[in-house]
Amino acid sequence: MAAGGGIDPIHQFHINPIVELKPFGLNLSFTNTSLWMVIVVAVVSAIMVYGSSQRAVVPGRLQSLAEMVYEFVASTLTGVMNKEGMKFFPFVFSLFMFVLASNLLGLLPGSFTVTSQIIVTAALAVLVMSVVLIYGIAKHGSHFFGLFVPSGVPGWLLPFVVLIEIVSFVSRPVSLSLRLFGNMLAGHIALKVFGGFVVVLLGSGAVLNYAIAPLPLLLAVALTALEVLVAVLQAYVFAILTCVYLNDALHPGH
């Protein structure tokens, strides 16, 4: 009876192919993840294109939404990197909107959360770090590797510190992807588990269980509110950390 009723909190993360595509032994199937990524991009594009096509002096709802998001990302960007960071605006804005939209759309019942797949968040993090590396090396050449050599370290300690700095640099994409993935996964599992408690308690038949069944329901409602906060916050954290790492590419001198 316990954990019965076919409630599996992990089942929501299952990837199943919609269109099987296996050319040359590569698995390139169009899965539910791909479908939801397309939906996310379509929703973001629709909001931004419609919002920016109005150009009214007094903005309507969608236009003011688009303008608010633009100003928010722009102020985050200039807060970390000053004016010269605005050249990265398209990149950071796209990342922010993609993560935000997939987090929020994932909260709709029956939808699929793209960012709860570690491969998606890892790909985003690797993309960020590739931009940092390529831009840093293209702009500063070998001077970019001064990032790994902090100033004012005694000579005998230097190899050790450089090793730590390199591992620290490698750990950035790991923690960047893990943070988003972990928060999304944990939140959705917690929601499913508390929802499952309600069903199990109501299905058990004991009168006492009917009495305590509303408690997990209340908690699930509260958790949903928390999840909305976490969804927005994680997108913000992802964007601001992208800015911090890009700032290293702009100014590699510690």
Binding site: E165, V167, S171, S175, Q234
Partner: protein, 116 residues
């Protein structure tokens, strides 16, 4: 047509100049980093993002160190040694990132206090 009247009074011109100046000042202030209308919300978001960062930077360091050590072991065939070494280094790197995160606000204001 909308050209200002050349015979407009001096005080009117001065008032327009004053309002323009104050508008420019307002725009400049809003473009300064760290200034925003949603100060409290942003402070909360900043605090929570620092918390999330600290937690995962710590774990990220260990995981990245373990990953490097494991791959290095598989490449060089030195089974447990690189894994152990790089896990220790990764832990130190994780602590170092958290330390740097905590000491950053003061490091921006004066000099260069990083000399560990």
């Amino acid at each position: 047509m909308s050209e200002p009247d050349p015979n407009a009074s001096d005080s009117e011109l001065r008032a327009r100049l004053g309002s323009l100046k104050s508008a420019i000042k307002r725009a400049e202030e809003s473009e300064k980093p760290g200034a925003g209308p949603a100060g409290e919300d942003k402070a909360l978001a900043g605090a929570m993002s620092s918390g999330f960062r600290a937690a995962t930077d710590l774990a990220g360091g260990v995981i990245a160190g373990a990953l490097i050590g494991y791959l290095g072991d598989r490449w060089l065939g030195t089974s447990p040694f690189l894994l152990i070494t790089f896990m220790v280094i990764g832990t130190i790197a994780g602590f170092r990132s958290v330390y740097r995160l905590g000491s950053r606000p003061t490091s921006g204001s004066k000099g260069d206090p990083k000399r560990d």
